[in-house]
Symmetry: C2
Subunit: 298 residues, 2 copies
């Protein structure tokens, strides 16, 4: 009889492409993965991978096994989801995933309020760059900005929130200096992988052709606060920052709509219901800030 847990290692290697990558995902030493794969292949009596110097690649047999291994994983996830969905106690873990910017510049105070309100709920904010997969139980609730509602995952329950607008911002000091006849050039501050959005205009100010690139949203904000130039920001970031003002003559642009996503069986959990009700009220209160109506255009 094969060890079912070995199939989990098999999946990790098949996806990671190498033993070491798989070990990183699972969180074990790579030699463990090596041994478990060898054990699985021995018990099945067939090679699942070609052992190349560049990594492990699936053989034809491995490709066929992959399909069933995915089925096992799906059943395992459903199993966990079903057990978790029965959990009606208030104490326990609640994992929320959302974009880092939303966490840092808008919702962290609300998360703190919620945590104070329910001290027995253990909270985990999964706020990395990638989208966490609710079906895989990487998180219980997701707060997402969705541009086209047709792109919402069909298997998830979605609760609509306010629309999200963005604008073009610069530092208050830089605007004053520019009005006084700026000595320094004004540059576009962009995130490398994104570039300048097509909707953004410079408004009344003039920028040099030489952009200033950052890899990270926080670095971008820090740069614009330093008066390096102008950049596009969500209104809830730019309008809430006393050091920043909208670039005169620039327009707002709708980024998308906020959605609260939960998964079927997990949604029935008391913790999840408490959180979604709490945070959707807070989001509704933030609607003017999010849509850019909190301040009057100057």
């Amino acid at each position: 009889m094969i060890d079912w847990d070995d199939v989990r290692y098999f999946l990790a290697v098949a996806r990671g492409g190498s033993v070491r990558a798989a070990a990183g995902r699972i969180g074990v030493n790579h030699s463990t993965v090596l041994r478990r794969i060898a054990q699985l292949e021995e018990r099945l009596g067939a090679q699942m991978f070609e052992k190349l110097p560049s990594g492990y690649r699936l053989t034809a047999a491995g490709e066929e096994v992959l399909e069933l291994a995915n089925q096992m994983e799906a059943s395992s996830h459903q199993l966990e989801t079903r057990v978790f969905g029965r959990d009606q106690s208030v104490r326990g873990l609640l994992r929320v995933t959302l974009a880092p910017t939303l966490t840092a510049h808008l919702l962290m105070p609300d998360f703190a309020d919620f945590a104070r309100l329910h001290p027995e709920i253990e909270m985990e904010i999964v706020s990395s760059g990638e989208l966490a997969n609710l079906t895989n139980r990487e998180a219980d609730v997701a707060i997402r900005v969705v541009y086209d509602r047709k792109t919402l995952p069909l298997n998830l329950h979605a609760l609509k929130g306010p629309d999200l607008f963005g604008g073009v911002y610069m530092s208050r000091d830089l605007l004053a200096a520019w009005r006084a006849g700026a000595p320094d050039p004004i540059r576009w501050i962009v995130i490398s992988m994104h570039g300048i959005p097509d909707w953004a205009s410079e408004g009344e100010v003039r920028t040099t052709a030489v952009p200033f690139k950052t890899t990270d949203g926080e670095a971008q904000i820090a740069a614009v606060r330093q008066g390096l130039g102008i950049t596009t920001l969500s209104c809830f970031v730019g309008d809430a920052d006393p050091l920043l003002v909208r670039v005169p003559g620039s327009d707002l642009h709708m980024h998308g709509t906020l959605w609260l996503l939960t998964q079927g069986e997990i949604r029935t959990t008391k913790r999840v219901r408490l959180f979604t009700e709490f945070i959707s009220r807070r989001l509704a209160a933030y609607a003017p800030l999010l849509t850019g109506l909190s301040i009057t255009r100057d």
Copy 2:
């Protein structure tokens, strides 16, 4: 993350009804099962079993989990089946399941011939009382006696063999003694759990009302050879035994039809094809013996 192999232990306990029964099935110490179930419950954060003095019984949560655990098992079995089905080498394991009587009194010489013909095939004859489940990969080939072809499992591939007839037998010596005016009473020899089949008649001989019961087919044959009385036997047993004769005036009765069963993906294996072709030829040659036509009625 849960250990997927723990789900296998969960299934064994759910089916066995107790930790010790599950340990017996899996082939480990019962304390191991105890610890793995405790680990699973801890990681899931829910009780799967009520710990009664009489054993482990599923909780409501456990019932819900059982369904998904079965799915995982089904995927695991399909996975093994698919890998095994790719195996086109002649060397390796071949497991055959069939009724003990068929093994001992008819086919063992043929199995021996096959093993001599293919010395690199490791053979295993699974000839316990219960039907082995091909879908669970407990065996690769099954030889079954089927009374109604509608009862054949639909998911298996079935190859029809000869019909199987039975009759009423007694020892040659007893018949002679009875014809000479028997001093001893002639008894019905029956297997306890079966009783006297409704189709069987005593023929010309007279039996006492007191039956002789055995638990086991081999004991039944030994008893009739000892001249204890008359009994129903398959023709291939009774006709092939020089010590036995059919009871004068008794009739034959069709027991059913022999079928060679294999499972879809496993059927494509070279070993399985070699075996089914070999054994179906032998079965065809045995047709007169199996249908009771090998000897003329006296």
